[in-house]
């Protein structure tokens, strides 16, 4: 299946025929057509007449879902209403396109990848590289730079980690040879070759030697502190003629990579030639760092697993489960659900020039994406019959709170935020980092393994900050303004539902809220205001608010 040829050019040619690719120069594949094809392939592969497919979700659910999945925020109430009453048959596709042009799209996904990379950091000092990474990646995503080019930047970067976001993976792994190797394979190819570091992989075909041949692309890169008068930082740097010829000190360049001798750790080990395990293509010993990493990035991004890993990850985020169970453990030994469907989508993603906006637009147009959500299926049930509620990532939840409550992210006195800037600049004053520490999770971990916790529950239910910003007194809060502006009880209840859950209340919810309001006003000395504070409190503490349906 793989071309075990020394010459990279021939290997690539071989590979291209295997992939049935359309040359990148041609027009991009039509997202609508590919979405239809994927649905058809899924239907053939998985469903029959007896399959219970979830119906297409309603417009209100769709618009909230697609907002969270693209710009990482929930839609304002007027947007929901406009969308729902819009008679256009093409509005779903149109709105995805529009949202992908919004600068928050890049920000949302840059933060996602920040979490992918930094949840696996070796040391906390690596977080120094995080702001530059988010800033650079936001820009790349918004300019729709191809995923292959972005991956290449990550794999080949040098420079100050505070200036060049491409250094993030190397910095997160302290530029240590084996760790960096395992991470790039995990992130870009979805392959767990890292386990082969110490022993032949127990469940996979990879051999220990192959891991260390891959590691041989990274020995000459290192990390070192840089200091100027005004700041302290680190830089990723290459050294092609380091003095230490053998044992690599932590994070320091070495001329070539040596595979340790397990029986005799004092021995120098075996010198490894850079060789790409998936194709067998190799570089001679002595090749410069720049050339090694450039060439490896080329081989990575041409590989079928590069496209497959990204498609599987994005599908998993958007539809709720991947074709492969784990987004970071795919590969030839793993069984995909509906393998033809992911092959098709991966090939077209490659043909699109690894166009990420195209990929999101395509997935969002599938029936698989647009179905109503159901609880996560039992492993023995048929996959992709429904979407799955996804817990909001910390950034999404924080942004949603900030939007609903109209608070300034910088924790200044609450006021309406300017839509042009809000959320685009992470400042030290923002409560966001602390919120992320409490609510964040590693997005590569299976979503069903990410549980909510008591400290999170307490922070939202019983946090002083939350309780301050939901107050209905004065005009400094969203609720205060709303209480002053809206007289009718029904209208107020509707408005709060629309704001928080992007939908109208059901009739039972409406009467429940109304009854609650009356009870508070009648039975106690509570003011009307307090009844609505309680309703707002309950809405933002509801799981429906904290998940995307």
């Amino acid at each position: 299946m793989y071309c075990l040829l020394e010459c990279p050019q021939i290997a690539v040619a071989c590979f291209a025929t295997f992939l049935l690719t359309i040359p990148v120069a041609q027009a991009k594949p039509s997202s609508a057509r590919v979405a239809r094809q994927v649905d058809n392939v899924l239907a053939v592969a998985l469903f029959d007449e007896s399959t219970s497919l979830a119906p297409r979700c309603d417009d209100a659910t769709y618009i909230r879902r697609v907002w969270l999945d693209t710009v990482g925020d929930i839609p304002p109430p007027e947007t929901v209403l406009e969308f729902v009453i819009d008679p256009s048959a093409k509005k779903r596709k149109r709105d995805v396109r529009k949202l992908l042009q919004n600068p928050h799209y890049g920000k949302n996904w840059a933060r996602y990848w920040r979490d992918v990379i930094f949840y696996r950091r070796i040391e906390d000092r690596a977080l120094l590289a995080s702001p530059a990474m988010v800033a650079d990646l936001t820009q790349r995503f918004n300019n729709n730079v191809g995923w292959d080019k972005i991956a290449t930047e990550f794999m080949t970067a040098t420079g100050d980690v505070r200036n060049n976001g491409g250094t993030a993976i190397l910095m997160a792994q302290a530029a240590m040879t084996e760790q960096t190797t395992a991470e790039v394979a995990r992130i870009f190819l979805g392959l767990q070759i890292g386990c082969a570091q110490c022993h032949d992989h127990p469940y996979d075909r990879w051999k220990r030697e192959q891991f260390h041949e891959l590691a041989a692309f990274f020995p000459r890169v290192g990390v070192r502190p840089v200091r100027t008068d005004t700041k302290r930082s680190f830089e990723i740097y290459a050294n092609n003629s380091p003095k230490n010829r053998r044992a690599k000190a932590k994070g320091r360049p070495q001329r070539e990579h040596f595979m340790p001798d397990l029986e005799n750790p004092k021995a120098p080990g075996t010198r490894m030639q850079p060789k790409f395990f998936l194709t067998g293509a190799s570089l001679p010993l002595g090749t410069s760092d720049a050339e090694r990493r450039q060439q490896l990035a080329r081989w990575f991004t041409e590989n079928r697993w590069f496209a497959t890993a990204m498609v599987n990850r994005m599908w998993s985020e958007l539809v709720g489960e991947g074709f492969y169970e784990s987004v970071e453990d795919i590969g030839p030994e793993r069984q995909a659900k509906a393998p033809t469907a992911i092959r098709l989508l991966s090939n077209q993603f490659r043909a699109s020039g690894y166009d990420l906006k195209w990929l999101i637009e395509t997935i969002c147009q599938t029936n698989a994406y647009q179905r109503e959500s159901r609880p996560r299926r039992d492993p023995k049930d048929i996959p992709f019959t429904a979407n799955v509620p996804q817990r909001l990532r910390a950034d999404q939840l924080f942004t949603a709170l900030v939007s609903v409550l109209e608070i300034d992210e910088k924790n200044l006195p609450p006021r309406r935020r300017k839509p042009s800037q809000a959320g685009l600049v992470d400042t030290r004053k923002s409560a966001r980092p602390a919120f992320n520490r409490l609510f964040g999770y590693d997005p590569s971990v299976a979503r069903e393994d990410v549980a909510i916790s008591i400290p999170q529950t307490l922070a939202l239910m019983n946090g002083l900050q939350v309780n301050r910003v939901i107050r209905g007194t004065g005009k400094n809060t969203m609720l205060g303004r709303l209480l002053a502006d809206v007289a009718g009880e029904e209208a107020l209840i509707e408005e709060l539902y629309l704001r928080c859950l992007s939908r109208e209340p059901t009739s039972s919810e409406r009467s429940l809220a109304f009854a609650y309001r009356n009870e508070i006003v009648r039975d106690t000395n509570y003011a009307r205001r307090m009844a609505y504070e309680d309703l707002l409190w309950a809405l933002i503490n509801s799981t429906e608010f904290q998940y995307r349906k």
Partner: protein, 435 residues
């Protein structure tokens, strides 16, 4: 009588102790409507009478040495062999037993420690080994194994305790696991630091208003609970319940080390790990069943000797004091203390003065819980490279831990996909610990 179903067991515990119902069972039983309001009353009932219930039953404190502690520099020195390096051995208060010079305080409580010098496994990768030494199993796709603390909380958790039955001190510890298929209510309460009690635990509104809000939240979620959010809402309801029970409890004080006299804090020593050990004792005292405290930094691939000296200094005094303190309070016999990491370090010293990963022969310590202290079990050869006497596999260790806590290690749970999973697969009790 052995009752296998956790619900029945909790019920039984509650009934035996004159309680109406435990909080967990209450959740499982309660009808959705009105749940929160009536639970508040239950909570009040419980807090009035828990004083007499607390501190019964077995508990376990896991002191986790993250990164793989060097056995040569802690509990298994080899001063006679070049592999032993510069570390010398010292005598203990049990004649014939020597441990590394880095552990002088532990040497003085040796009569209560059982040192296992023949632990052996095949897993030399941090992630997988951390998983293995927390779960007794290696990761297996499709099965969400509960971690040790979750099993213990499930099996012998004190239903009347208002604090979570499983607390983990110290944040980022990958692969240490959680409730797994037992559910979110068996996840540990994770504290970022022993010196910072959990946040947001003071009610921000009146108790009455909080109760109303909780009730409103509960009924608002009925629709989502009946559709896509079934599991999600159920999980949240459990956690809300646990959280509210916890913060209303007078035992919340247990989290605050300021309530300890300065002399006691001094006795445990300085630093985060020492504070964690003291906190563990306080929590167990209030009926928490399983507390896990981590000390990071044992991955000494370079400068092994100076680094392990510092690390041992951070663990020696707190461990010794924990044993002493538990004993003085009459708690040692029903509190099992485990000191271990994911593997040991290589007998050979590498060119950077470090030791690398070595799962083949490593050490751990057990104390309390009725085990016989003052003994060393197992032996390695003079080079420290091979176990030559009494090998103890990970499943033996886990079987022994469960046995000590009065838990049937062969007990079978049913995983999410309906597969029966034993607490431990195979393994024998290390009987010498009980002789």
């Amino acid at each position: 009588m052995k009752v296998s179903n956790p619900l029945q067991r909790h019920m039984q515990v509650s009934v035996q102790q004159g309680q109406v119902v435990s909080r967990r069972d209450f959740l499982r039983h309660a009808s959705v409507a009105g749940m929160t309001a009536s639970t508040l009353n239950i909570t009040d009932v419980l807090s009035a009478s828990t004083e007499s219930l607390r501190t019964r039953g077995m508990a376990c404190i896991l002191l986790w040495m993250q990164g793989g502690p060097s056995q040569f520099e802690t509990f298994a020195p080899k001063p006679e062999h070049e592999n032993g390096g510069e570390t010398r051995a010292i005598g203990t208060n049990v004649s014939g037993i020597q441990i590394a010079e880095n552990m002088p305080r532990c040497a003085q409580v040796m009569q209560d420690l059982a040192v296992l010098r023949s632990l052996t496994s095949r897993e030399g990768n941090h992630q997988r080994a951390t998983y293995l030494l927390h779960h007794g199993y290696l990761p297996l796709g499709g099965v969400k194994f509960p971690t040790l603390g979750a099993h213990v909380a499930d099996q012998i958790g004190n239903a009347a305790c208002q604090l979570p039955s499983y607390v983990r001190v110290g944040g980022r510890l990958a692969n240490a696991g959680g409730g797994g298929f037992l559910g979110v209510d068996y996840d540990p309460l994770v504290l970022q630091s022993a010196q910072k009690p959990p946040a947001n635990t003071k009610l921000t509104t009146s108790a009455q208003r909080t109760a109303r809000r909780l009730q409103l939240l509960n009924s608002l979620q009925d629709d989502f609970a009946a559709s896509a959010g079934a599991q999600i809402v159920a999980d949240q309801r459990k956690l809300v319940q646990q959280a509210m029970t916890m913060i209303r409890s007078p035992h919340m004080e247990a989290f605050d080390l300021q309530h300890e006299p300065q002399s006691m804090r001094d006795a445990y020593g300085e630093g985060e790990f020492a504070a964690g050990c003291l906190l563990a004792r306080r929590l167990v005292e209030q009926g928490v069943t399983f507390v896990e405290v981590s000390l990071r930094g044992w991955d000494t691939h370079q400068d092994n000797f100076s680094r392990t000296r510092q690390l041992a200094a951070q663990t020696d005094q707190p461990l010794a004091q924990l044993i002493t303190d538990l004993k003085q309070r009459g708690m040692l016999d029903r509190t099992l203390v485990i000191w271990m990491g994911e593997f040991g370090r290589t007998p050979r010293i590498n060119p950077r003065g470090g030791r690398d990963h070595y799962p083949k022969a490593f050490s751990g310590v057990l104390a309390g819980g009725g085990i016989q202290g003052g003994q060393v079990i197992g032996r390695t050869n003079s080079a420290g490279a091979e176990v030559v006497d009494r090998p103890i596999g990970v499943n033996d260790l886990f079987t022994t831990i469960y046995h000590t806590l009065g838990i049937d290690a062969r007990h079978e749970n049913t995983s999410r996909i309906g597969r029966p999973v034993k607490l431990v697969d195979g393994g024998e009790v290390v009987q010498e610990l009980f002789s």
